[in-house]
């Protein structure tokens, strides 16, 4: 290249720069976690074993706090069980249980082996995959609410888009009024998330609880997610609520992947809906 005139050389370098940047930007825009992971299957296998070793050490260090949290959760569950069984007895006395199978969720417990909170696009890797029944688009919850949604499942591991990812939206609702809105992280603080598109007339006070909505098909409804910190008007038409999450993503170690028993049926309905549009 040394033989070329100066100007031509400059132009060639500029062209190279533009070409390389274009490739990078195109990759960024067409970013698909699925393709990236499909290509990397072999490497990911090796990587996940390293992540697993690292996370098992950290999990060991955090056993004490984890135990406390588990015993608390246990207590709460027992309480609820007692309440529900009471309800069941009173119902049984009045009428028969419906015969058709109810639409229920089943839970696949998994361990988080990789997690991050300090990027704008955070991901989790969990130690359950296709072999355990984990499929893409399944919801993932932690002990304090929604943790994310599965984006790619390998044989024994799965990549989960964290709730703390500015590209991912979820549905949640205001418990007191039942108004639902879009839950999307703005990328600033790992304990705070924004719930937008809440109609202006909704009466919201600080400390109100936000729960998962029945309209998000991948999560059971009524999981408490956090409390309202503040509210502000967006574009004069709707409210945006700042929510303090119950889930501390920095200490998230154990999660549950949710699979819906009647998932197939729902998928069919969703497909029909898309065809109709």
């Amino acid at each position: 290249m040394a033989g070329l005139p100066y100007l031509l050389r400059k132009i060639l370098v500029l062209l190279l720069f533009v070409a390389l940047q274009t490739v990078a930007i195109v990759l960024m825009v067409n970013n698909s976690y699925f393709q990236q992971n499909a290509v990397l299957q072999v490497v990911r296998k090796w990587q996940t074993s390293a992540w697993e070793r690292r996370s098992s050490w950290i999990a060991f260090k955090n056993l004490r706090t984890l135990n406390d949290a588990l015993s608390q959760e246990n207590a709460a569950l027992k309480e609820e069980l007692a309440r529900l069984s009471l309800l069941e007895h009173s119902l049984l006395a009045k009428q028969e249980i419906p015969t058709s199978t109810p639409d229920t969720f089943s839970f696949i417990p998994a361990r988080v082996i990789k997690n991050s909170v300090n990027h704008r696009h955070n991901h989790l890797v969990i130690d359950k995959g296709l072999a355990d029944g984990v499929r893409p688009d399944m919801g993932v919850i932690g002990s304090g609410g929604i943790a994310g949604v599965v984006s790619y499942a390998a044989e024994n591991h799965a990549l989960v888009i964290s709730l703390l990812n500015t590209q991912q939206r979820f549905t949640a609702e205001h418990k007191e009024t039942g108004t639902f809105g879009t839950l999307r992280w703005n990328g600033v603080h790992y304990k705070k998330i924004q719930l937008s598109e809440i109609p202006q007339h909704t009466k919201v006070t600080k400390g109100d609880t936000i729960i998962s909505s029945p309209f998000s098909l991948i999560f059971p409804d009524g999981i408490p997610l956090g409390t309202v910190l503040s509210q502000s008007q967006k574009r004069g038409t709707s409210l945006e609520l700042e929510i303090e999450l119950f889930q501390d993503f920095k200490t998230l170690r154990y999660v549950q992947v949710i699979s819906r028993v009647k998932e197939k049926e729902l998928q069919q309905i969703k497909q029909k809906e898309e065809e109709a549009l």
């Binding site: 990078a24 930007i25 990759l27 990397l40 990027h119 704008r120 890797v125």
Partner: protein, 170 residues
């Protein structure tokens, strides 16, 4: 020949360090350690810009691939730095001096000028990285805060590594 092998070894070392160590460091929202930028600063001053960009592209692409982040983010920022590095060296040294300078360093540039050089290089890389990651000017001050925090840490880390491992003893 000897030089290419050293470049490849450095390439692998910095890539592995970034992937296995610095990607896992959790220093909070405002500090993201990326000392791999040092890779581009260790090339000779007369190294061609085109070759620099290709090295940067390869490095960034591998880094993006193996860290489970956004594809192309590191690549874009690193290529931008590679494109501007030689111009920056030219602007910061006297005319005719470049041929005598082997690689950018404390000894060759003078301490103050070298620190400034590293700071500027890191600033170029980080501006591209953080504003592309945000992909908007929404939350401008927050992005700027992340940029500044990381800038200070990484400049320090790069200077530290350079001083410790890559400074020729005389």
């Amino acid at each position: 020949m000897n030089q290419s092998i050293r470049i490849i070894l450095r390439f692998l070392l910095l890539l592995v360090l970034q992937l296995l160590l610095f990607e896992h460091m959790d220093l909070g929202m405002y500090v993201y350690p990326m000392p791999y930028i040092l890779f581009l600063l260790l090339f000779p001053c007369t190294y061609s810009t085109a070759a620099l960009m290709i090295w940067a592209f390869a490095f960034g692409l591998l880094l993006d691939f193996f860290s489970a982040g956004i594809m192309g983010l590191h690549t874009s920022a690193f290529v931008a730095l590679a494109a501007l590095r030689n111009g920056l060296i030219k602007a910061m040294t006297l005319k005719g001096d470049i041929d005598n300078l082997s690689v950018p360093g404390f000894m060759q540039f003078g301490t103050v000028r070298f620190v400034l050089f590293v700071l500027l290089c890191t600033a170029i890389h980080h501006s591209v990285y953080f504003f592309l990651e945000a992909f908007s000017l929404h939350l401008f001050w927050h992005t700027l805060g992340r940029l500044t925090g990381s800038l200070l840490l990484n400049t320090f880390l790069i200077l530290l590594f350079k001083k410790t491992f890559y400074e020729q003893k005389r």
